[in-house]
């Protein structure tokens, strides 16, 4: 299907000062073909094939600092003479700071369901839990006074498995899956799924390729779209082509995307609107990986009940469609664009 947005283009840069880039980088960005994507998902979600991640992100940093150094300027430390109004905002800053780390871990720390961490203020410690639905914070305890609770907390940390720390076992634990990161480029964790193999519930084994689209976010689906190839040749021709794997933590209560796409495709076939099939990809496989009956999600569901929205990891295997950018003439492009909107309307009406 046709994609209407480029993953790396930054239209907002039109209305704001552009970031400081190396001349070579600017050139690379303009030359990189805006290879399109296909709407592999619910029509509201568009993906792009452009995975033009620069190899060094430090060049885009604002404000610019010494690129050869990993050390940031020392953060401001509170002086003991500061008034209480300043102290009251410290807690908010701490919450935001911890949330920003969790955001990076859920976005760039491999395929993760959740993050467990802690914040320490003088003699107090509070526990933090982040997943794609909720941010849970415990009330603080004085760990000097209440040493039995503190030790119980450490007991909890000590017995956690990689899965309970939040790593999705669908792919290998990061450190095992690749050589040590020492000396490797910055892009390594952006292509962390590349080369990994996943086994589907129908027995087929897929080797994952480059990332097409990756959502950077804390609360939300965290959609990840990667290219894939089936490892063993099969009788089914559709599986032997280039494939797309879409992973997203969708709310459990939501209708699965493969049902929506298949309904639209069936409706189109019945009505003779075969042009729709050029936009909506053939869904080869769909499965839901539900961890809500495992720890710690099970405990959260028990504790929070309706206040917690359980999510499942939805995996779709789709056929890869032709990028919209390969359409050369204005008429073809206009027709394709119109088709995208018509498809959107069709799916909306069928819901």
């Amino acid at each position: 299907m046709l994609i209407n947005y480029s993953d790396h283009a930054e239209p907002s840069s039109i209305i704001r000062p552009p970031p400081i880039l190396k001349a070579s980088q600017t050139c690379k960005q303009t030359q990189s073909t805006n290879r399109c994507s296909k709407a592999t998902s619910a029509p509201s979600e568009c993906v792009s094939r452009a995975s033009a991640y620069p190899t060094r992100s430090s060049t885009k940093r604002v404000p610019p600092t010494d690129r050869n150094s990993d050390i940031l300027p020392r953060k401001r430390v509170k002086k003991s003479s500061e008034p209480s109004s300043v102290i009251s905002s410290v807690q908010d800053d701490l919450d935001l700071q911890c949330a920003s780390y969790a955001l990076e871990l859920l976005s760039h720390g491999s395929l993760r369901n959740h993050v467990i961490a802690a914040a320490i203020q003088d003699r107090t410690i509070e526990l933090l839990y982040y997943d794609r639905s909720i941010i849970v914070k415990s009330f603080p305890i004085d760990f000097v006074n209440d040493d039995s609770r503190f030790i119980a907390m450490l007991k909890g940390f000590a017995k956690l498995t990689p899965c309970q720390w939040g790593y999705e076992p669908l792919v290998k634990f990061p450190h095992i899956s690749r050589p040590p990161p020492l000396g490797a480029g910055l892009s390594i964790s952006l292509s962390i799924l590349q080369g990994q193999t996943i086994t589907l519930c129908n027995g087929k084994v897929l080797k994952l390729g480059t990332t097409v689209y990756h959502q950077h976010g804390l609360i939300g689906r965290g959609t990840w779209v990667v290219r894939a190839k089936v490892q063993k040749q099969s009788d089914d021709v559709a599986w032997d082509r280039d494939l797309i794997v879409k992973l997203s933590w969708s709310p459990k209560s939501r209708k699965s995307e493969d049902i929506i796409v298949n309904e639209a495709r069936s409706h189109a076939k019945a009505c003779g609107d075969l042009w729709v099939l050029n936009h909506l990809p053939n869904v080869l496989h769909a499965e839901d990986i539900d961890r809500t009956s495992e720890e710690p999600l099970k405990g959260l569901v028990e504790l929070l009940g309706d206040r917690y929205e359980p999510r499942v990891l939805r995996l779709l295997v789709l056929e890869e469609l032709t990028p919209i950018t390969e359409l050369a003439t204005a008429l073809c492009l206009a027709t394709a664009f119109r088709g995208i909107f018509d498809c959107r309307q069709l799916v909306f009406l069928l819901r």
């Binding site: 947005y5 790396h8 930054e10 907002s12 992100s57 885009k60 604002v62 990993d70 940031l72 020392r74 003991s80 701490l94 935001l96 700071q97 911890c98 949330a99 920003s100 780390y101 990076e104 871990l105 976005s107 720390g109 914040a119 320490i120 203020q121 003088d122 003699r123 526990l127 839990y129 941010i135 849970v136 914070k137 415990s138 000097v144 006074n145 039995s148 609770r149 030790i151 119980a152 007991k155 909890g156 940390f157 956690l160 990689p162 990061p174 450190h175 040590p180 990161p181 020492l182 490797a184 910055l186 390594i188 964790s189 950077h216 976010g217 804390l218 609360i219 405990g299 206040r307 917690y308």
Partner: protein, 292 residues
């Protein structure tokens, strides 16, 4: 007669619009109506000019043409990107993260996530439901807890943590040592080994955002890898030259300092303090006759 009709055609909308301005509450609505009045007046002027063309040459008056309405000013604290979903304000909608990734850029998005999706629970509930440590465990393992807490290494690290500091960074290593020591005692034979170590001031690699958690929890093999050389080796400057990647980071600890010197002693709970006060008062009462 025609003049009167034209005059009423011009005046009537103006009067109606002025009444609407008076009734409307928001400033932006008032401005919109005011603009429409000027447009009505301009249309009237154009008609007059058109009528004059029969008798005289047309005169071009730029002021008589309708103008493009001015852009509505967005008072939102953040500017939305072209690719942002209009009603979504959380971190997942921040599509410009590759160029705008400082803490200030993320603040409005993360604030929204925290505002909408934050829950606070008791420490015991966290232990029970998320870390799966039951309240009974503390009673059952009381002796082993006391053994860990009373060990010399634990007490030394606690003393080191609570002693006077000049900078927040001086607290990182004593705390991580304390945590690692206790976790080592508590861990089973084949359990997954996570060690906490100092990371600040080294930026964690693998993302556009340049963040540096104070302390990171990583797999034991990762912290000993290459030049990192273990937790103690990182205590002064973090993993200089061998920065961790986000894929290495399992967990993190973030520190904040309010007091630069702490007491390592256990303080009595409020109820115990109250009991002590009553006992002292009672003792004073008993001793009063003796003093006399």
């Amino acid at each position: 007669m025609m003049r009167w009709i034209w005059l009423w055609q011009a005046i009537l909308p103006v009067l109606l619009a002025q009444w609407q301005i008076f009734k409307s509450r928001t400033v932006s609505r008032k401005l919109e109506i005011a603009r429409s009045i000027s447009f009505c007046v301009n249309r009237h002027q154009q008609r007059v000019l058109a009528a004059r063309t029969f008798t005289m040459s047309p005169v071009f008056e730029p002021s008589a043409l309708p103008s493009t309405p001015s852009r509505v000013v967005n008072n939102s604290t953040r500017t939305s990107s072209f690719q942002d979903t209009p009603w979504s304000k959380g971190s997942g909608s921040h599509s410009g993260f590759r160029n705008r990734h400082t803490q200030d850029d993320y603040k409005p998005y993360l604030k929204e996530d925290l505002r909408c999706s934050k829950a606070s629970i008791a420490f015991d509930e966290f232990l029970k439901h998320i870390l799966r440590v039951s309240p009974e465990w503390r009673l059952q393992e009381k002796s082993s807890i006391e053994k860990i807490v009373n060990s010399k290494r634990y007490q030394d690290m606690l003393q080191c943590y609570t002693s006077q500091i000049h900078h927040e960074t001086e607290r990182y290593h004593p705390f991580t040592e304390l945590v690692n020591h206790a976790m080592e005692q508590l861990r089973g034979q084949d359990e997954f080994v996570v060690s906490f170590c100092r990371n600040d001031p080294i930026i964690v690699k693998g993302s556009y955002a340049q963040r540096k958690p104070d302390s990171t929890g990583v797999e034991n093999d990762v912290v000993n890898e290459g030049e990192r050389g273990g937790v103690d080796n990182l205590s002064k400057e973090g993993p200089v030259g061998n920065a961790f990647f986000w894929t290495d980071v399992i967990s993190f600890l973030e520190f904040k300092v309010k007091l630069f010197i702490l007491s390592a002693e256990k303080t009595l709970p409020a109820s115990s303090m109250l009991c002590c006060c009553f006992l002292l008062l009672y003792a004073n009462q008993l001793l009063r006759p003796c003093r006399a």
